[in-house]
Every structure is written in C-alpha cells, then in structure tokens.
C-alpha cells in the first residue's frame, strides 16, 4: 500500500470528483484541485473567505464552495478557470448549500430554514421553496436525479413534497403520519421513499413515488426509536438501526421485518470470526539505538505495532455504560452501511464503540466482528468490492474484507521531525468513486493535528496490484511497501 506525501487541509474538506479524476481540498480560503494520478495541482481557486463546505457537481465540472458565515456560495468551473459565479444570500443567511443532481442548480437553505432558494446556472430564474423542515436529512434526490423529496413542516404537521428536478415543479405533496419527522431517503431505484420519525417514536413509513403510503413499520413503543437508516444498494432491504441496539431488516415486497440483528457484547457463536486489534510496542532493536537517529526518509518508524488477532470465542466486547439522564445517549446503532454489492452490512453499536459488526446479508447472520483498541470514528465501503475501511482516530487505517483484516500505519506529517512529535490522527476515510473506467480505488484519509491539517492520499494507480493477501488474515502489516 502506498501513501502520498501529506497535504495541508482545513475544515476536513477534501473530496474526490464523482468521476474519480480529481481531488479537491481546501486550505483556508483556497481551493486546490489535484489530479488523482499524478497529484499535481490542476487548478487553484481563491475564495472570498474561509471555505466551510465544498461539493462537486455530479458531472465533475463545477465545484461549489460555501462560506456560511458570509452567506456566500462561490462556484468554480474546472474547464474554464476564468469562469466564476458568486451567489449571495444576503441578510437571509445560509446554513446549507448543495447541488441539484443535474449540476446546474444550487439549493441554498437560508437561516432558520425559512426557505430553500434554487439558483440556476443556466437561466436567470430563481425558485423558492417555503417551509423546509429543519431536520437531519430533509432533502433527498433520487439516484437518477429526476426527483427530489423534501421534508416540510407546516402548521405543526409534517409534509413531504416531491419535486421534479428538471423544472422544479411540485409533483406530489402529502402529509406524513409522523410526530416529528427526522429523515427521508429514497430507495436506490427511486420509487420508494423511506420516512422515519424522531427518536422519540419508532416509526418508519414507506411512500411510493406517487405519494401512496406503502407501509408503516413500528417495532416498539414508549422507548427511544430509530437512530439510523440505510437502504441496500439493490433497494431490496431497508436496515433500521435503533436505540435498543438492534438492526431490523425490512424487505421490499411486504415491507415486513425479515430479521433483526442483535448486537450483544458477548459473542459465543464459534462460527463468527472476531478480529481483535492488539498493540505491541516495537522491540527496540539495535537499529533504533544507532546514532545518529535514522532519517525519517529511510522509512517510517511506527511508534507501536498493531495487528489483528483472531480472538477465541466466547468473546466479550468492551461496552460503554451510557449516561441515561442526558440527551442523545450513547446507545443504539449509530452507523449502518451496506456494501456496494449488498452482500454485507457494517454496523456500529454506540455503546460498544470500538467494535464494528459485519453481517452477511445473504445468510442473514453475523459474519465477523472487529474490535479496535479505540472507538471507531468512521467506516466506508469500497465502492468496487466488499472491502471496508475503518478509522478510529489513530494513525492507522484498518481494512476488512471477507478474506481477512489488515491494519495499515499511515505515515504522519511528522516524518521529517523526530518520531513522536507529529502523530497524526485519522478522522475519516473516503473511497474514490472510480466512475466508468473501473480504476482501482484509492483511500483518502485525513490527519488532524491540533492546528495543522493534512491529507494522506494513497494513489490509486500504485495500489492496483495490492489486493489483501489472504495469508495476512487477522494480522496487521505495519510495514509499507
């Protein structure tokens, strides 16, 4: 596995273009666009203020940079560097900005969710959508980019509006039977909309594109309800993670529960492989004691080795005792993600924060459990194959595939300084969408020092011939090729 040098970064803003050719990253008020293969800077744009949000248009031609403090959005074209566009929301303010799927419209949400302004880059027309609901996930586009669903709140009732994205015409408008809607999500086939209520009530509603209620599902009452929802890429399953530490899988035919995955802290089934990360301080060989200390260029010196061990069942995972008298208790399934082939589901139970459960969806059973040394920050599936990247805020990237597990030391930016001064902490991982070309994926991960931000980038081209060796199953390879 190869790593690029470390790049500066601010605000955790770093995104691959949807076609996988470019990488955009922000440093203060500058936007840097690099070519993925060469990592050469292709374009450099300067915005008016510190960038708080960037987003690529779907056709990878434009980049949107939002500066919420100033209520400003700046759009840059990759093809025409001299082309510029500036949208000022004025005194209404700005809290969110996003592209419409066609890449020619920008949706800006004003402060207090007063309205959503739809700016067009093609015409002078401006559309306003009133009463958007201030919630976690209030807008969602179908995958083909035709329709947008928007959660609305009028007269203390929840509504969902479906717009046609081509001309922003309202297609359907219907009220939902929810107390306090928190999220909506289109199924990948764009025909079913999942709507779920706030955590106070367990309720999932499924609406057809034409606004018919297909089904409603509620697992229990009088307790904290849904925490996370995910569609399988095949639109066949809807995984609902809830505060009771269970994931319930609904099917797309009857919209009834097929199975529920519990997340017990003790694993007794001997069929399940439990990977346990074990840290070993490196044995001080003679090389380490040699004087003068070896240059970092000779090779990174990991402060400690980490590797996976296959724990023998029964295994009891470390659990966190939740504080129950505060809002948003750390319990329940907070993260859910299907693998791109819909074969696996990765979950994290928030009161077992250092463990990632991987479920086999074909057999509807637990497949593997990864227990990290520190709480899992994020995980993401490789868009090409069933491979999961996990980061825990340490200096390592962890990779899981059905063949085994791997932990990779990411060289920090402290390479040029004596070891130990610049330890990096990975906060997120992003896989590059390879687009049509079928290129090998790349990992982008980000380190966070107190003040300085950096990007660790693995060049995709160089990692093509680096599949996970099955011989390394359950073992880490901190050495870098």
């Amino acid at each position: 596995m190869n790593f690029s040098e470390v790049f500066k970064l601010s605000g955790l803003l770093c995104k691959f273009s949807p076609d996988g050719k470019y990488l955009a990253s922000c440093v203060q008020y500058r936007l840097v666009v690099r070519d993925v293969n060469t990592l050469q800077i292709v374009q450099l744009y300067t915005c008016l203020d510190q960038i708080q949000h960037i987003e690529w248009s779907a056709d990878s031609l434009f980049i949107l940079c939002a500066m919420y403090k100033r209520g400003l959005v700046q759009v840059w074209s990759l093809e025409q560097p001299e082309w510029h566009c500036k949208i000022d929301e004025g005194s209404a303010g700005l809290v969110a900005s996003c592209w419409s799927p066609d890449g020619r419209h920008i949706l800006n949400t004003t402060e207090f969710h007063l309205r959503i302004t739809v700016w067009s880059l093609c015409t002078k027309s401006v559309s306003y959508i009133k009463y958007p609901k201030a919630c976690l996930q209030g807008t969602t586009f179908t995958r083909d980019g035709r329709y947008m669903a928007l959660a609305e709140r009028r007269d203390c009732k929840d509504y969902v509006s479906i717009f046609v994205c081509s001309d922003w015409q309202l297609l359907r408008h219907f009220d939902t039977d929810t107390q306090d809607l928190t999220g909506i999500e289109w199924a990948p086939n764009g025909c079913v909309l999942a709507v779920w209520d706030s955590c106070l009530e367990y309720k999932v509603l499924l609406y057809s594109l034409d606004g018919r209620l297909l089904s409603a599902y509620s697992a229990y009452e009088w307790s904290l309800g849904i925490k996370s929802v995910a569609w399988s890429p095949s639109s066949q399953f809807l995984a609902v993670g809830s505060y009771d530490g269970k994931v319930r899988i609904l099917n797309h035919v009857t919209w009834k529960m097929i199975t529920e995955f519990e997340h017990p802290a003790a694993i007794n089934n001997p069929k399940i492989v439990v990977y346990k990360e074990a840290e070993k301080s490196p044995q001080l060989g003679l090389g380490c004691l040699s004087f003068p200390p070896p240059r970092a260029g000779a090779g990174p010196l990991p402060t400690s080795e980490s590797k996976y061990e296959i724990a023998s069942v029964p295994v009891s995972l470390q659990t966190l005792k939740p504080v129950t008298d505060r809002a948003n208790p750390k319990i329940g399934i907070g993260m859910l993600a299907f693998s791109p082939d819909s074969y696996f589901l990765a979950t994290r139970n928030d009161n077992v924060p250092s463990a990632v459960w991987v479920w086999d969806i074909q057999k509807l059973r637990l497949f593997a459990v990864l227990e990290q040394l520190s709480p899992v920050r994020a995980f993401q599936w490789d868009p090409q194959q069933p491979r999961l990247a996990i980061c825990t805020g340490g200096s390592r990237v962890y990779l899981w595939s059905p063949a085994g597990c791997l932990s990779v030391q990411v060289p920090g930016e402290g390479e040029h300084s004596p070891a130990g001064t610049g330890t990096s902490a990975l906060l997120f991982v992003v896989w590059r969408h390879t687009g049509r070309t079928g290129e090998a994926p790349a990992i982008s991960s980000q380190g966070n020092c107190p003040q300085r931000l950096c990007v660790n980038l693995k060049a995709g081209a160089q990692c093509t011939g680096d599949p996970l060796p099955s011989a390394l199953q359950g073992r880490s390879s901190p050495s870098l090729t």
Partner: protein, 613 residues
C-alpha cells in the same frame, strides 16, 4: 377347694406336675436315671404334699374325710365312693374301685386342666405380647399423630404466612400496576403536553419565521443576487422550458412511467423467479414420479387402491401438464393442477418415506433381535462346545492321572491283568485276522504244493518209465556189449553215474517228504516256513511276505477306510498320491459298494504283492 386352687396356683402346678411325673414314672420302668433325679428333686415337694395331706386327713378323721370327699365328689358329679348299700343298717363300705376310678378321673381331669391351663397361659403370653406390641404401636402412632399435628400446624402457619406474602405481593403487584398505569398516563399526558407545547412553540416560531420572512424577503434585498460570468448550458443540452399545464401533465406521465417501469421490472423479476420455481417444481415432480413409479409397482398391489388411482391420476396430470406448455398458461389455471398433483405426490412420497422408515426401523429392530438370537445361539453352541472340550480334557487328565498313578504305584495286579487282558484281546483279534490270512495263504500254498507233488509224481512216473526204458535199452546194450570187454568198464562207470543220480533222486524225494510234512503240521516255526518257501522258486521269503502282507493289510484297511467314503462319489479322481495305486485298484469294487471293499483288499493285496520287487 377353689380358694386353695387360686392361692397356691404356681405351687400346685409344679406339684401336680411332679405328681404326674411321679405317676408316669411309676407306670414306666423305674430304672431310668432321669426319673430318679426327678424323684430326688420332687422329694421336698412330695413331703410338702404329705404334710399338706396330713393336715387334711389324720388317723382319727379318716371316716369324716372320706365322707367329706364323697360328698364333695358326688356334688361334682362323680359316683359315690361308697358301695351301694344293700341294707340300710349296714355301714357303708368304701368302694376302692370307685375311689380309684374317681382318682383316675380326677387325675385325667387334672391333666386336662393343666393342658388347658398351659394353653391358656401361652395364649395369655401371646396376648400379652400382642398387647405390648399394640401398645407400642399405639404409642408410636400417638407420637406420629402428635408430630404430624405439629407439622400440620407448622404448615398451616407457613401457608398462612405465604398467603399473607401472596396477598402482600398481590397488593404490591397491584400497586406496581397502578404505578405503571399512572406512569403511562403521566407519560401520555406529558407527551400530549409536550406535543401541545411543541405545537404552541412551533406556532410561535412559525409566526416569528413568517415575520422574519416578511422582514427579510419582502423588502428588496439587493444583496440577494447571483453574480455570474455567463450562463452555462444545461447538462442535457436542452433549453429550459416554461412551466405550463403541459409540463405538469408530462411530469405526471413520466412519474407514472417510472413507476410502471419499476413495477414492470419487478413483475419481470417475479415472473422469472416464478418460472424458475416452476421449473424446479416440474423437475422435482418428474423426479418424484420417476422415483416413485418403479417402487410403486410392487406396493401398489398391496396398498389399497386409493393410492394407485392417485398415482395414475398424477401420471395423467403429469402427462397433461407436460403436453400443454404450462409456462404459457396463466397461474390461475395451472396453479391448482400443479399444486394438487404436487401435494398428492408429496403425500405419496411422504407415506413412502414413512413406510421405508418404518421398515428400516423394523429391520433394524429385527436385525437387532436376529443378531441377538444368533449371538446367543452361537454363544450357547460355543459354550456347549467348550464345555464338551473341557469334559474331554478332564477325562483325558483323569485317565492320564490314573495312568500316572498306576505307573507310580507300580499298579496293582488286578488292573495290570485287566489291562493285559485288554491288550491280549486286541492281540488276539489281530492274531485272528492274521490267522485267517495265513489260513488263506496256506490254502494257496497247499494248492500249489499239490500241483507240485502231482507234477513230481508225474515226473517220477516219467522217470520210472524212462529208467525202465533205459534199463531195457541198457539191457539190450549190455546184451549187445557182452561181446566187447571194454564195454564192461564203462558199464561200471555208468553204474556209478547212475547210482549218483539215484542219490540225487533220493534227496529230492526226501525233500518232497519234508515238504509234505508241514502240510500235516500246523505252521509253527518261521524256520520251517522259510525252509518251505525256499523251495518255491521266485517267491520272496515268507517273513518278508508276511511283513508286506501285514503292512499291506493295514494299508488296505486304512485305504478302504479312507477311500470308500471318497469314492462313493463317482466322478472323483483319486485322492492322495500315496493311495493312487490303491484307489485305481479299488475303484471298481468301491463303486459297487464299500462292503465288498474288505474282501477286495485281499485281492488287491495280491496285486500289490505282484508289484513288489
């Protein structure tokens, strides 16, 4: 008397016993030591009795006492002690016989009483022990009753306590339920209140929002603007269109199109799935039919007709279904047939499998039993065999021990003689056989000898004739030669020669006589036999012959024994190589019957003899 009896109960009993003993002793022979001892022991008692009696009757009051006794006895129903008075004036005489009878009767009575008393006493004892037992039982039961009563009280107490607890728990449960209800109510009310508050606040918030909206949006905010270098083309290259009713309708259309597409896609998928499932079902059915039909042929005869008809139905159905391409049929029409047929077949299969299961289990059980039985039989046989062997071994050991003992103790004459007799008998038997053999041989020899003698006689006669001829011829010669002198000397020589020849003749004659002798004699010594046989030309020495003979006979007997059973089977080629000659020789005979084998062996022995060098 009654008083006396009661007062002196134990004493009297012992006394009376001694008395009875006494009487019995007197009746029995008095010379027994035991009775003497008893007497000795009873002496003080008898004294006592005497003293007692003396107190009752003295020299002076005999009359009175007798009369008193008489009275008493008569009152008890005994005959009077006095003789029947013939005259009133005459004094009544004591009837000794009556007295004695009375006494005897009294004694008998006494004995009876004693026996009764004993019985009563034993019964009394028994009853006493019974009483004791019952009393102990009673006390035990009383104790038990007491303990059970106590237990019952304890249990009742516990029951009461538990009931109390139960009541308390019920109360608690009720309270809890009430609490839960209350809490639920509270939650509900809180929820409603919360919702209400939320709504109120939201309304306020909405109002504020509206206000803000009016404030911010309504006045023309110059700042709200888009500063763009030039408008870019749409991603699809089309120009934007105006919003009209048309577009609305088009959007609707498109939406429905999308939905329809989705549904069509799903329907297609479902159809495909259905088709595949149907295929699987069909295949399964076919396999079922193929699986069931050959097996059903047999059971169909046995099994009642219903299943048979079902099968035929099924087959018909299958035929129909396969004829019509069922995929084109809508589900409605096919479904029923298919499901019905599958169900039927499934039922058949199930019953078949169950039957098989039953059979298997039965077979398993039977097998188990069979194995068990067999093993048991085997076991028994084995044990029997082993027991037999053990017995045989024991017998062997016994005989060996006996033999050893005989050897060790130089065996007493009887057994040795017996044994010798045994051996002698065997020897005799063997000798008899040999004897018969010899007899046979002898007959042969005699025959030969006779022929020899006859030949010799003939020879003698011929020689005589020849001599006579020669004599006549010599006479002639002599008569002719008298004329010549030198012929005389020759004659002498000739005569000498003649005499020599006559000597030889004599010898042969003698030998012939000798040969004749053993005919009359019983063939005793082998020397004689050897002499005898020596004269026989080209014949082996008799001793040899005898040996071979015996050997052969043994051989033959063995061979007969060995071969005959084998050769009963007609097409068996001769067995062992050592017997081959024999088998060849004896086959015709043995094939006829093994009874003739014995006699055949003799003829065979001749053959063998001829073969011998």
């Amino acid at each position: 008397m009654g008083d006396w009896m009661t007062v002196t109960d134990p004493g009297l009993s012992s006394e009376s016993k001694t008395i009875s003993q006494h009487t019995s002793e007197t009746k029995m022979s008095p010379s027994s030591l035991y009775s003497q001892q008893v007497l000795c022991s009873s002496i003080p008692l008898s004294k006592n009795v005497h003293s007692f009696f003396s107190a009752f009757c003295t020299e002076d009051n005999i009359e009175q006492s007798i009369s008193y006794l008489d009275q008493e006895l008569t009152t008890f129903g005994f005959p009077s002690l006095y003789e029947e008075s013939k005259g009133k004036e005459t004094k009544r005489e004591l009837n000794i016989v009556a007295v004695l009878n009375c006494m005897n009767e009294l004694l008998v009575l006494q004995r009876k009483n004693l026996l009764a008393q004993e019985n009563v006493e034993t019964q009394n004892l028994k009853l006493g022990s019974d009483m004791d037992h019952l009393q102990s039982c009673y006390s035990k039961l009383k104790e038990q009753l007491e303990t059970s009563r106590r237990e019952m009280i304890g249990l009742q107490e516990r029951d009461r306590q538990l009931q109390c607890k139960n009541r308390n728990l019920h109360q608690l449960l009720k309270n809890e339920k009430d609490e839960v209800q209350k809490l639920q109510n509270i939650i509900a009310s809180r929820a409603t209140q919360y919702n209400h508050d939320m709504k109120r606040k939201e309304r306020e918030y909405n109002k504020l929002k509206e206000r803000l909206h009016q404030l911010v949006m309504n006045k023309k905010d110059k700042k709200i603007a888009m500063d763009i270098l030039n408008y870019v083309g749409r991603a699809d290259g089309k120009r934007g269109s105006w919003r009209t009713g048309k577009t609305e309708a088009r959007n609707e259309d498109e939406m429905y199109k999308i939905l329809l597409n989705d549904y069509e896609y799903r329907q297609k998928q479902i159809l495909m799935e259905n088709a595949e499932l149907k295929k699987v079902l069909q295949q399964m059915k076919k396999e079922m039919i193929s699986l069931l039909s050959p097996q059903k042929k047999k059971p169909r005869e046995r099994v009642d007709d219903s299943t048979g008809t079902v099968i035929s139905d099924v087959e018909e159905d299958a035929g129909e279904l396969s004829r019509e391409s069922m995929w084109d049929l809508s589900c409605e029409t096919v479904r029923e047939q298919l499901t019905n047929s599958i169900r039927k077949q499934w039922r058949i299969l199930k019953s078949h499998v169950e039957k098989l299961d039953n059979q298997v289990s039965k077979v398993h059980l039977e097998g188990f039993n069979d194995e068990d039985v067999i093993s048991r039989q085997d076991h028994e046989q084995e044990t029997e065999k082993l027991e037999l062997e053990i017995q045989q071994c024991k017998e062997m050991i016994k005989t060996q021990q006996q033999l050893l003992q005989q050897l060790a103790t130089a065996c007493d004459d009887d057994t040795t003689s017996l044994l010798r007799d045994c051996y002698l008998l065997e020897e005799k038997e063997r000798l008899k056989e040999e004897w018969s053999l010899f007899k046979e041989q002898k007959k042969n020899f005699e025959r030969e000898r006779r022929s020899f003698t006859e030949a010799a006689i003939r020879l003698g006669l011929e020689r005589k004739a020849f001599e006579e001829e020669r004599a006549s011829w010599l006479k002639q010669q002599f008569l002719n030669m008298t004329t010549f002198d030198h012929q005389n000397s020759e004659n002498v020589k000739l005569f000498s020669a003649f005499s020599g020849s006559s000597d030889q003749d004599n010898l042969t004659v003698h030998s012939r006589q000798l040969q004749k002798k053993p005919h009359s004699m019983s063939n005793g010594s082998p020397v004689c036999m050897s002499k005898l046989t020596k004269s026989l030309p080209a014949s082996p020495s008799t001793s040899d012959f005898c040996q071979t003979r015996s050997c052969v006979s043994e051989h033959s007997s063995i061979n007969v024994l060995n071969i005959t059973p084998e050769d009963i089977k007609p097409n068996q080629v001769g067995g062992e190589c050592t017997n081959q000659k024999w088998s060849v020789a004896s086959r015709p005979g043995s094939q006829e019957g093994c009874y003739s084998g014995c006699s055949l062996t003799y003829t065979n022995s001749h053959v063998e003899k001829d073969d011998l060098p």
